[in-house]
Assembly symmetry: D2
Homo-oligomer: 147 residues x 4
C-alpha cells in the first residue's frame, strides 16, 4: 500500500490549498467533494481525452455518501484512490478511499461513494451512457482494486 | 408547506453566491455541505449564543449522505429545513431537506443527513455532549417536523 | 455612520460562512472579492431586475485593487458600502468600503476598487454599455456617498 | 518564454479545479488570489521548509492589485511566475504574471502585485522580518526575472 501500485488515473493527489482549511484548522468537510470531482476527472480523462466536455457528457451527481476517519491538515500528503463499483445503463457508482501520510505510513482519512447519472442536457432527461463512457468505466475493472 | 411554518432556526435561506455556481451552471455539489454547515449554525446559534465556540465545542462531522433531486441555479430562492433525528451520548444525526421555489411552488431539491460526533479537542478523543448541546438539540423535538 | 443611512442597494451585508475562514483564522483575502461580486449584484439588481443575465450583460472584471485594514472574523457583523466612481462608454469603476462592527463602533476593514468593462460575448469584443446599465450606474450619483 | 527557464519555486502551475469556474464559465476573479497564495507558498517553501508555520510567521496580506488580460478556462494550462519586487524591514512586495497556453504560445492572462506585512501575532503588531524570510526573499534577486 505504501506505493499505491495502481494506474496513475486511479490515484489522485489533491493539492491542499491554504484556503481549503476552514475555521477548525482542517480541510473543510465540503471540500472533499471537490477533491472527488477532480479524482473522477483524473480517472476518466486519460480515457475520454482532455477535450471531453463534462457538461455535454451529462455525468450528473445524484448521491454522495462519505465517512470521515481522520482530519486532513494543510501540509498533509494525500492520495485518493478511485474506482467504479458498478455501471448500469443510466447510472454508475464511483468509490474512493482517501489516504494521508502520517508517521511513516498511509492512514485511511475517508471513504466515500458517488452515484452518477447519465443525463442528456438537450432533452432534459436521463439517457443511456455513451459507449465511450462505458468503455472508460470498465477500463480498470469493477470494485476496489488491490493495493 | 408554502410558508414553512417552522421556527426561524429551522429554516435557513442560503445566499446563492455567483461563485457557488460551477462550470455546469448549477450550484456545485460540494457547496451544499457549506449550506448545511450554515444551517446547523443557524439551528444551534439561537440556543447556544453567537459566542459559542464551534471549534472548542467539538462538533465533528463524521458522516454525510445526500440525494440530489433538482439542480439549484443562481437566482433560485432556497430554503433548508433542518432537524435532529436523534442524539446519543457522543453523537447525533442532523437531517435536512432543501427546497427551491419553482413555478409557484416549493420543490424538493435535495435531502441529506449528517452524523456529528462530540470531540474533546484538548484530550483528542470523543467525549459526551455538554448539557447545553443536548438541551439545544432537544429544543424542537426529534424527527422531521410537519410542514 | 452607525446607521449607514444609505439606500439598501448600496449596503450589502455578507454572510460570513464558516468555510470563508482560512488556516489563519480570518476571512481569506480572496473571499473579499466574492463579497464584492455580491455587492455589485446587490447594487444593480434592484435596478436591472433579478432576471438580469450577468453573463449576457458582459460586465467583465478588468482590474481590482484592495487595501486590507483589519481582519474579518467568523462572527463579525460586516457591511460593504458600494458606489460607482465614474462611468465611461465601455468601462466603469466601482468602489467599496468594508466595515465591521467592533467595540460598539464600525471600523474600516478594507477599501477596494474594481474596473468593469462592457463586453459583447457574442462578438467577442468590448461594446458600449446598454442604456439600462448606464441608468442603473447613475442612480445613486457618482463618488463616495456621505455616511 | 516557452520554457519559463526559471527556478521551479518561481513557476507555479495551479490545478484549475472544476469548481474554480463560476457562472460565467471562467475561473472566478477571486480565485486568482488563491492561486497567488499558493504561488507564494511555492516560492518560499523550498527556502523556509515545509514545516514553516505560515500563521506564526505572520506574513499578512496588506494589499493586492490585479489586471486581468484574458480569461482562464477549465482545461487551460496555466503558469504563474512569482518574484519579489523589493523588501523593506516590515513589508515586501510580491509580483506575479499569469500565463496560459493558447494556440501554441503562452499569453499573458493577468498581472498582479501583493504587499505583505510582517506581523507578530503574539504581540499584535507589525515586526521586522526574520532573517530567514529576508534570505528567502533575496534568493532569486529582486524584480521581474528574464524569461
Amino acid at each position: 500500500m505504501q506505493v499505491f501500485d495502481l494506474p496513475t488515473a486511479q490515484v489522485y493527489s489533491p493539492e491542499i490549498r491554504f484556503v481549503d482549511i476552514d475555521a477548525a484548522g482542517i480541510v473543510n468537510n465540503a471540500t472533499y467533494f471537490n477533491y472527488f470531482e477532480q479524482s473522477r476527472i483524473a480517472f476518466f480523462e486519460p480515457l475520454l481525452g482532455k477535450k471531453w466536455d463534462w457538461n455535454a457528457a451529462g455525468m450528473v451527481v445524484a448521491r454522495h455518501e462519505i465517512d470521515y476517519r481522520a482530519p486532513i491538515l494543510f501540509n498533509d500528503d494525500v492520495r485518493i484512490v478511485t474506482w467504479i463499483e458498478h455501471i448500469g445503463t443510466k447510472s454508475m457508482t464511483a468509490a474512493y478511499e482517501v489516504y494521508k501520510h502520517w508517521q511513516g505510513t498511509w492512514v485511511l482519512a475517508a471513504q466515500a461513494k458517488t452515484v452518477l447519472v447519465s443525463y442528456n442536457h438537450k432533452e432534459g432527461s436521463p439517457a443511456p451512457w455513451s459507449e465511450e463512457v462505458v468503455e472508460a468505466a470498465k477500463c480498470f475493472g469493477f470494485g476496489r482494486p488491490d493495493f
